[in-house]
């Protein structure tokens, strides 16, 4: 088992070194085969690990001690269990597909940059695997910051573009704010429990040692970390900007895997989170608010990737709603289905952008259905899945979260359904504007429209199938299913809790949410089938178009004041006050020094000579110290 786990992590790292160090050596073909191959091998080993967990249960392996001091120890342990083995499959599975897709999508890049791209992507997979495999919070944190680094590098992949660089920096800094919360939570755990290993922290005994304040503080700080990484209010604004990166990156990092790290973290720590009522409320409220806020913004965006980005933020919000109401397996379920359909949608968008020669504005598209048949069909499946239409996967996972939300508080459910309706609306607005109606691009673009090569369409097809059928892993008892997933997760989140709703209520809720979503999507189809959105005219439209002016708010309320503070410190305090005082003293000294400066004649040689003579004299004192004896004797007296 040690070997298997070690190799799962090691292959992507080897890939990173292989392509990173050999970026000027290998041909593009070698780079592509290797980068994709390494992740594929890692996937195979992940399957082995998964099967091993199925038959033998969880396994923890020890590699070395990361930190081992007299009174404090952090082992470098990795663990596969029900939860991490699921994430392994998603990360390496979707990861391989996206690597394959990238080999064609990034074809125009020169070999060294092509290698750089894949090196980053492999490094990302490595970090993400560390994040989910680590057996303690510090290893998770290593992966946590590692994926942040890769995200930074890949958002700014086209580094000559200043806007992209800003987006990359923004992503890293906002993530760092979250990371600080995560770090403080780790420190808190160390102070109270002296350990950060899951095996010792996440037990009833440890829980008993923590006061309610401790638990609330630790979970809230962990949640701050999750807010950063998983783009929740107020730390979500980096994610839409992160779309500056190449589209496959958006699919892998900013939709399917990295941004779900926060959900992984909270599910992993569910024992702590369930113990704090307050934190659960905060998580649920932040989750549903983010879901709604992002959905309203998505309605008015015209950049195909921006719509998907806000949609991701919104779907992540649903997952946090699920976590907040205690539906941990529902949240993980949605992570999995979302990984499929959102990766599919992003890759579909990439295929469209590829065909449109880097045009991302959907108002300049339209009617792509005929020219891009595979992209069109798979994208449509993705839209249906995310809209929550049965029997596609999104329906099952979303419904599970909504049912749990209703049981906790019907208001959560109501808001959730409103969000679901908006989701269906903006996704079909996107679909219709892009694929139906008349083509609105240039003649030149129309002439070159083409379906993408098979390296790109194959991942689309596989992900489309997965998006369609992945719901099967969590068919509720209500429908005569067995809910494989929640049984799977029993070791992590405990026994499947019966939702305290009667069957008829559940059916009614389900019917209501599905029909509202279907109505919304029909409205969208009807409205956008002939023409795309114009510039927003109404105040509300502009407000949404400008994303609630949140970026502007942050800029004026936080960034600028801090910038001014820094300037004040630099120009006034440092230069005038502190250094002024020092220089004042200095000038006084200088004045008196003028009188003895005749001794200095400016010849370095002499200075050095005198120094050497002086030192040798001092060494000589070792044997004979007449002069200095007197000096010191006088001094002491």
């Amino acid at each position: 088992m040690k070997l298997i786990i070690g190799l799962i992590v090691l292959w992507p790292l080897i890939g990173f070194l292989f392509n990173g160090l050999g970026r000027n050596i290998w041909s593009k073909k070698v780079i592509a085969y290797n980068a994709t191959g390494f992740i594929l091998i890692s996937f195979v080993f992940s399957v082995l690990a998964f099967l091993n967990v199925q038959s033998n249960g969880a396994a923890t392996v020890h590699f070395f001690d990361f930190i081992n001091t007299a009174n404090f120890k952090i082992p470098f342990d990795l663990k596969v269990d029900a939860l991490s083995s699921l994430f392994l499959l998603v990360i390496t599975g979707v990861g391989s597909l996206i690597h394959l897709y990238s080999t064609a999508y990034m074809k125009e890049e020169e070999a060294p940059h092509y290698a750089r791209y894949f090196a980053y992507l492999n490094l990302f997979v490595f970090s993400m695997l560390l994040l989910v495999l680590g057996d303690n919070y510090v290893i998770m944190f290593i992966g946590w910051e590692g994926v942040g680094l890769c995200s930074y590098l890949l958002i700014g992949y086209w580094f000559t573009n200043a806007t992209y660089n800003y987006a990359a920096k923004k992503a890293f800094v906002m993530n760092r704010i979250g990371d600080l919360g995560f770090l403080l939570a780790i420190f808190w755990l160390i102070v109270k429990l002296g350990t950060v290993s899951y095996g010792s922290v996440l037990t009833a005994q440890s829980l008993a040692k923590l006061s309610t304040t401790d638990i609330t503080a630790i979970t809230l700080l962990l949640f701050v970390g999750a807010m950063g990484k998983s783009a929740q209010i107020p730390l979500y604004t980096w994610l839409p900007d992160a779309m500056a990166g190449p589209t496959p990156v958006s699919a892998l990092i900013h939709a399917a895997t990295m941004v779900t790290a926060g959900i992984y973290m909270i599910t992993r720590s569910n024992l702590l989170f369930s113990a704090s009522e307050l934190t659960q409320h905060v998580v649920a409220i932040v989750g549903i608010s983010t879901a709604l806020l992002a959905a309203t913004i998505a309605i008015k965006q015209n950049d195909i990737k921006k719509v998907l980005a806000y949609s991701t933020v919104s779907q992540l919000g649903y997952m946090f709603l699920g976590l907040g109401v205690g539906a941990y397996s529902g949240a993980v379920f949605h992570v999995i289905t979302h990984a499929f359909f959102k990766a599919l949608l992003f890759l579909g968008a990439g295929s469209v952008i590829h065909a449109m020669h880097h045009e991302q504005d959907i108002r300049k598209m339209g009617g792509l259905k005929a020219k891009l048949p595979i992209t069109h069909l798979t994208f449509l499946i993705g839209c249906i899945a995310i809209a929550g239409v049965p029997p596609f996967s999104g329906f099952f996972s979303k419904d599970e979260i909504l049912a749990a939300a209703f049981a906790k508080n019907p208001i959560y459910w109501g808001l959730g359904v409103v969000g679901a309706a908006m989701t269906a609306f903006y996704m079909f607005r996107l679909y219709v504007t892009t694929f139906l109606g008349q083509f609105r691009g240039t003649q030149d673009q129309a002439h070159h429209l083409h379906e993408s090569p098979s390296a790109m369409t194959l991942p689309l097809i596989i992900l489309a199938v997965a998006s369609a059928i992945a719901g099967a892993i969590g068919i509720p008892e209500l429908m005569g299913g067995h809910h494989w997933l929640s049984h799977q997760l029993i070791p992590i989140v405990g026994e499947v809790k019966e939702v305290a709703l009667s069957h008829s209520t559940e059916w009614a809720l389900m019917g209501a949410s599905v029909s509202i979503a279907v109505i919304a999507l029909l409205v969208a189809i009807n409205r956008y089938k002939r023409q795309a959105d114009d510039e927003p005219q109404t105040a509300l439209g502009k407000f949404l178009y400008h994303k609630w002016y949140v970026d502007e708010l942050y800029e004026n309320a936080i960034v600028q004041p801090l910038h001014k503070l820094a300037g004040f410190l630099k120009e006034i305090i440092e230069k005038n006050i502190i250094d002024g005082a020092v220089n004042g003293t200095g000038k006084l000294v200088q004045f008196s020094a003028r009188k003895i400066r005749l001794v200095q004649n400016g010849q370095v040689g002499y200075y050095i000579l005198f120094t050497v003579v002086g030192i040798i004299l001092l060494f000589l004192c070792w044997f004979n110290d007449v002069a200095i004896i007197r000096f010191f004797n006088n001094l002491i007296k």
Binding site: F64, F66, I67, N68, T69, A70, N71, F72, P112, F141, I142, E145, G146, L149, Y152, G156, F159, T160, A162, N165, Y166, K169, F172, V173, R176, D179, L180, L183, L184, F187, I190, V191, L562, L565, A566, G567, L569, K570, E574, I578, D579, N583, G586, V589, Q590, V604, G605, I608, T611, V612, I615, L618, C621, W622, D625, I628, I629, F632, N633, I636
Partner: protein, 473 residues
């Protein structure tokens, strides 16, 4: 004898260099001798060494005692690695009277090694000055335009600190039972409360200036900016460690009560300094000044961690003493290559390095992320342990200091963005072929960054024995 020869080799080399007028040859002598010193330093760090003891100034009972515990080993290793790295990386720089320059550098190295190895207070003071005086000449003769005024400030500032320390040493000396300068005797000195407080203040001021602790830091950015870059490297990679070393070796063990009663004061001051320097770093346009303020912030965190009196913090500091040296050395070498080849340090004028010299840009990104303590780089472990200690001391202080983690990301990534990314600027376009010497050194340093970052136990093993002795009087 191992310790004595480690000390003597740079000293003898420095004297020999005075007679080697030929630039190339002078380079070889300096690199070869510092290479031997480095080998000896490795030997001391990993195999240990017996102490060396001889009479020095008999009449006042001062002894020439050298000994190396974990703390000293870490710093001897850092000193040993830094000098050949600096000599090789800057071997192509144009320096007038190179032999004299290198000679003074090696005198400095002698002083630094002596400071870290001395087991006698007077000897410590002697080497402390020996390290300082050559730097004065190096800055005032080979420095930038404003060198005279700046060096004067630097010298007066640190010399003032030294004098205060000397008074402190004499004060303790007169109260030792056996009238000796040995550290053991100093620890058993019978000081009244008032005397202990006075001595604490004297020593603390000297070390606080050297580190520096806010608000005694203003000599540093100026000195870093105006010094010739090889000297800046010595100053910030090794020399600032003298202050922290002094605190750990002398201040805390000698005056535990006074130190403990000032813990809150020093931790608070240090953390203010961390944030203050980080904010100012954000607004710097000069690469050297940016690195200088960043370094002040990092050192401030180390001094805060020391005064929390938590063993975990001391562990962190010991690792960080080494790691900070390696990282800042890497950054200075990069800054130096850029300044040498473009003629400017203004980040406004730079940009596009990644396109012009991709390898150097990758190295820059590597050291930048080490500078912001990304996990699996060397700085993470140290900072993690230090923050841990500060958190144990006061969660609010840790949260406050933690803001610097975010600020560090801002100014460091700003620097990366302005230097490496974007279209190739005129200044960067002037860059000729990559400087192979400097780049090889950078690669070696970056390997150290990751090896000690992934497996910090290497450093813990060297330093582990110091912890037990530190807080025990």
């Amino acid at each position: 004898m191992l310790l004595l020869s480690t000390l003597c080799i740079p000293f003898i080399a420095a004297i020999i260099l005075l007679f080697v007028k030929h630039n190339e040859k002078a380079n070889y002598v300096a690199i070869a001798c510092s290479g031997v010193t480095m080998a000896l330093a490795f030997n001391i760090a990993f195999n240990g060494a017996t102490s060396f003891d001889a009479n020095w100034i008999l009449s006042i009972n001062a002894r020439f005692l050298l000994s190396a515990d974990g703390l000293a080993k870490i710093l001897v290793l850092l000193t040993g690695i830094s000098f050949p790295a600096i000599f090789i990386a800057t071997s192509k720089n144009e320096i007038k009277n190179r032999n004299q320059f290198l000679s003074l550098m090696l005198f400095t190295q002698t002083g630094l090694l002596g400071v870290f190895l001395a087991g006698d207070a007077l000897l410590f003071y002697f080497f402390w000055e020996l390290a300082l005086i050559p730097v004065y000449f190096l800055c005032s003769i080979w420095g930038g335009e404003k060198r005279v005024a700046i060096t004067f400030k630097f010298f007066i500032y640190t010399f003032l600190g030294s004098l205060l320390m000397l008074i402190g040493i004499i004060l303790v000396y007169t109260n030792t039972p056996d009238h000796s300068f040995l550290i053991g005797s100093f620890k058993s000195a019978l000081l009244t409360k008032g005397q202990q407080l006075t001595a604490f203040a004297l020593f603390f001021t000297a070390f606080a200036i050297k580190m520096p602790i806010f608000p005694l830091h203003t000599w540093q950015p100026d000195a870093y900016e105006q010094s010739p870059t090889p000297v800046t490297m010595v100053l910030s990679a090794v020399m600032v460690k003298m202050g922290l070393y002094g605190v750990m070796r002398w201040l805390l063990p000698l005056f535990p009560a006074a130190s403990l009663s000032h813990a809150h004061f020093v931790v608070t001051l240090s953390i203010i300094g961390v944030l203050y320097a980080s904010f100012i770093a954000i607004r710097q346009d000069d690469v050297k000044r940016l690195i200088a303020y960043s370094s002040i912030a990092h050192i401030g965190l180390m001094s805060a961690a020391l005064f929390t009196f938590k063993s975990i913090g001391v562990q962190g500091v010991m690792i960080q003493l080494f790691s900070h040296g390696i990282n800042v050395l890497g950054l200075w070498i990069i800054a130096d290559i850029i300044e040498q080849q473009t003629g400017t340090r203004s980040m406004k004028a730079l940009g596009g390095l990644a396109k012009k010299q991709p390898t150097l840009a990758i190295l820059l990104v590597g050291f930048a992320f080490a500078n912001i303590a990304l996990p699996l780089t060397n700085a993470f472990v140290g900072e993690f342990l230090m923050f841990n200690a500060i958190f144990q001391f006061s969660p609010w202080m840790a949260a406050f200091a933690g803001v610097s983690v975010v600020l560090a990301a801002i100014y460091t990534l700003n620097m990366v963005q302005k230097i490496a990314y974007g279209e190739v600027s005129d200044a960067i376009n002037k860059m000729q072929l990559p400087n192979k010497n400097a780049q090889s050194i950078l690669i070696v340093l970056l390997v150290i960054v990751f090896v000690t970052g992934v497996y910090p136990q290497l450093l813990f093993n060297i330093s582990s024995d110091t912890l037990q002795q530190l807080f025990v009087k």
